[in-house]
């Protein structure tokens, strides 16, 4: 019987995020914060407006549904490398459907 990579995908996903991912603290509404591993693009972004440009954070993270089954705008995510907390402003299924691509918005005090 031929080996099907699909059989091992969940295990590979879990292994890759544990090895290559970034630690984040994810708090679902009404639950305690949990430390999980996710792929986080911390890159700032520059956008052009009339006459000026603005550089600001435009964080995108990818997390597997085994860690975060459902995303809500009230969730809070703390990124230790930036020391800041965010809410999801939008979230999309990954191509495999096994995870979420979450676009983050800074929580201002």
């Amino acid at each position: 019987m031929a080996l099907e990579l699909e059989t091992f995908t969940d295990e590979l996903d879990e292994t890759s995020v544990e090895v290559l991912g970034d630690p984040v603290t994810y708090k679902l509404a009404n639950l305690l914060p949990q430390s999980i591993m996710a792929f986080v693009d911390h890159t700032d972004k520059t956008d052009a407006f009339a006459g000026v440009q603005i550089t600001a954070q435009d964080i995108v993270m990818e997390v597997f549904k085994t860690a975060v089954p459902v995303v809500a705008a009230t969730d809070t995510i703390t990124l230790p490398r930036l020391g800041k907390t965010y809410n999801p402003k939008d979230w999309l299924n990954t191509p495999s459907g096994r995870g979420w691509i979450i676009l983050l918005k800074l929580v201002r005090s």
Binding site: D47, A50, G51, Q53, I54, T55, A56, D58, L104, L106
Partner: protein, 161 residues
């Protein structure tokens, strides 16, 4: 200011006139370099620039300059294609401050014949930034110079070289 082009005199004096007088914590810049983006920590801010100047003959001895002065009002804003509350407040402060000009020497009121708000519109961009936005307030500011002398302004108190 002596020897500078007339439009430079107007822009520099406008910067001085507005600085410290447009709301709390609002920074004012002049001709911010396009390759030197604002960062979130600098907001809210207003960038002054002159996009275009038109000329008309004024009598036999002067030119009437009509300068399109743009105030780029940059704030933390999550909206697009709208003028948000903070941007509207800053624009209102700019209008009030310019309207409060007098002909005192060395101020913007000495240089200008008139200053009229023309329009205000949001710079839509593409909403890719999560929390920043811009609205541009446009003014038409008029001033006089002698024929073929774009450095000297015929101001409210006489010539400003």
């Amino acid at each position: 200011m002596a020897g500078e082009a007339a439009i430079t005199k107007v822009k520099n004096t406008l910067l001085t006139w507005l600085t410290g007088n447009i709301g709390s914590g609002v920074t004012i810049t002049l001709d911010r370099a396009f390759d030197q983006p604002y960062h979130d920590e600098e907001l809210p801010t207003v960038n002054i620039r002159c996009q275009q100047t038109d000329y008309d003959v004024f009598g036999y001895s002067g030119w009437l300059h009509s300068a399109a002065i743009m105030f780029d009002v940059v704030t933390r804003s999550s909206t697009t294609l709208t003028i948000d509350k903070k941007q509207a407040e800053i624009a209102a402060d700019i209008v009030a401050r310019i309207a409060a000009r007098t002909s005192t020497a060395g101020t913007i009121g000495e240089l200008l014949q008139d200053a009229l708000p023309v329009s205000m519109g949001s710079s839509g961009a593409d909403m890719e930034l999560s929390d920043q936005g811009e609205t541009t307030l446009q003014y038409r500011m008029t001033y006089l110079t002698p024929i073929n002398d774009f450095r000297t302004i015929a101001g409210q108190n006489g010539l400003v070289a």
